[in-house]
Symmetry: C2
Subunit: 214 residues, 2 copies
DNA sequence: TAGATTGTTAATCGATTAACAATC
DNA sequence: TAGATTGTTAATCGATTAACAATC
C-alpha cells in the first residue's frame, strides 16, 4: 500500500523548485524545460526530471513543463494547499520577527497565538495578536486546533515546553532553539539552527583564507 | 598541496558535534566514546569516527575522546577561534533580531553596523549600534574591515545590494532573503531560507495525514 | 513529419555503515 | 595484561548523472 518513500534530499529541493517556478510565474513564463530550469537553478536537468518523477509525470515530451501547473502541483505536494494554525512560543526578537512575517500568512500559515513568560511582553499585541502568558498555553492549545508550534525561546526552557505541547497533541514543531528534543515518533520537528548556519559560513570563510591559491 | 576536499555532508554535521560537545563540557563530562556520543546524537558511531578522521586523530584507542580537547579542535576547524566583523543589511524585525542575538558576539561574530533605507529606523540604536542609512554603506564598508554581510532585506533589493557589497570586497554573505545570487566564485553565501524550512515542515505534516497507518 | 524533451533505466559516483587490526 | 575503543579499510547502500527510447 505504501508508495516508495521519497528521499530527504528530494524533499529538501522541492521548496526551491517551488520558489523558482513562482518567480517564473510572476514573469509570465508559460513553459520551461528541465534544461532551461537547470541552467537557472544550477542543478542538472537530469536531477530535476528524476526529482519530479518521484511524484508523477508533470511534463510533456517535446514541450517541457507548464510553469503554472507544475507550481501548483509542487505546492500541493508540499501541503501548501492546506491551512496550518501556528502558535509562537517566545515573544523575544525572533518570536516577534516570526509573528510579523506576514508572508507566511499568505501561504496558509495562520498565527493563532504568541506566548511568553515575560510580564513586560504579556498583553502587547503584534499584528493584532495578543501576547499571552505562557501559563495559559495548555488551555489555549486544548481550545484551539493548533498544527504547528514555533519554538523561539531559550534552550533552557525549550525541551520542557516542547514535551508539554506534544503531550497536548501538537504534532509539528518549528524549532529555533539550539537544542534537540526527545519527542514521540509521530511528532515532526523542523529545525532552524541559526548558530550552526553561521558556523558553516565561518568554516568556509576560514578555509578560504587557509588555502594559498584563491 | 591540497588536502582532499571535505564533503559538504561532513561540514554540515560539525556544528552539531560542536554543540553536543559544548553541552557535555557544561556538564563537566571529561571523556566520551564515539559509541556513547552516537547514542546521544542518534547517529552511528562509525560516522562520528569517519567524520572526525577527516581532520585528524582526535581520540585515543581504549579511551575515547577528551571532550574539552575535541570541542576546541572542532571550534578551530569551524573557524571559531577567529573574529568576524558583521554588518546587517535591513533593520526590520529579522535584522533587529539578529542584531540583538548577543550569543553571536560570544562566538566572535561582532556586529559593526546595521543599515536600512527606512528613514524612521535610521538613527535608532540596537544594543548600542546605530542604524545607518543604506546610502552610507559603501563608505562604511570601505572604511571598515567587514567579513560578513547578513542580508535581511526584501528580495527585491537584496540582489543589487549583494552585488555592490561583493564589488566592495565582502566575501561572506549570510542570506535571509528568499532569493539566490549571481556573485563571483570566491564569494561565499550561506542561506537561511525560512519559508523553505516551513514548507518542509508542511510537507511532512501533510504526508503524515495522507498515510492511513500512523 | 522532424525536432525537442520527457520519463526512465543503467552507470557512476559518493556517502554511510560494518568490520577489524592497531593500540592505548 | 585484558578490555576498550579508535583509526581505517572494505562492503554496502543511496543519490546523482548519463543515456536513450518513447512520445508529444
Amino acid at each position: 500500500m505504501d508508495k516508495k518513500e521519497i528521499s530527504k534530499a528530494v524533499i529538501n529541493r522541492l521548496p526551491r523548485y517551488y520558489r523558482y517556478l513562482g518567480d517564473l510565474l510572476e514573469k509570465d513564463v508559460v513553459r520551461i524545460s528541465s534544461k532551461e530550469l537547470s541552467k537557472r537553478m544550477k542543478v542538472t536537468a537530469s536531477q530535476i526530471r528524476q526529482d519530479l518523477n518521484n511524484f508523477g509525470g508533470f511534463g510533456q515530451q517535446g514541450y517541457g513543463y507548464n510553469v503554472e501547473y507544475l507550481h501548483t502541483e509542487i505546492g500541493k505536494i508540499l501541503g501548501l494547499d492546506k491551512q496550518y494554525n501556528i502558535i509562537i512560543i517566545g515573544a523575544g526578537n525572533l518570536g516577534q520577527a516570526l509573528a510579523n512575517y506576514a508572508d507566511f500568512e499568505r501561504r496558509g500559515f495562520i498565527v493563532k497565538g504568541i506566548f511568553d513568560v515575560n510580564p513586560r511582553l504579556v498583553g502587547l499585541t503584534i499584528r493584532g495578536i495578543e501576547i499571552r502568558n505562557l501559563d495559559n498555553l495548555e488551555e489555549f492549545v486544548k481550545m484551539n486546533q493548533i498544527d504547528i508550534a514555533a519554538l523561539a525561546l531559550p534552550k533552557t526552557q525549550a525541551p520542557q515546553v516542547a514535551l508539554d505541547l506534544a503531550s497536548w497533541g501538537i504534532k509539528g514543531f518549528w524549532n529555533f532553539a539550539p537544542t534537540d528534543y526527545q519527542l514521540p515518533d509521530d511528532v515532526i520537528v523542523e529545525n532552524v539552527h541559526l548558530a550552526e548556519s553561521l558556523m558553516k559560513l565561518s568554516y568556509r570563510l576560514s578555509e578560504k583564507y587557509k588555502s594559498v591559491d584563491n
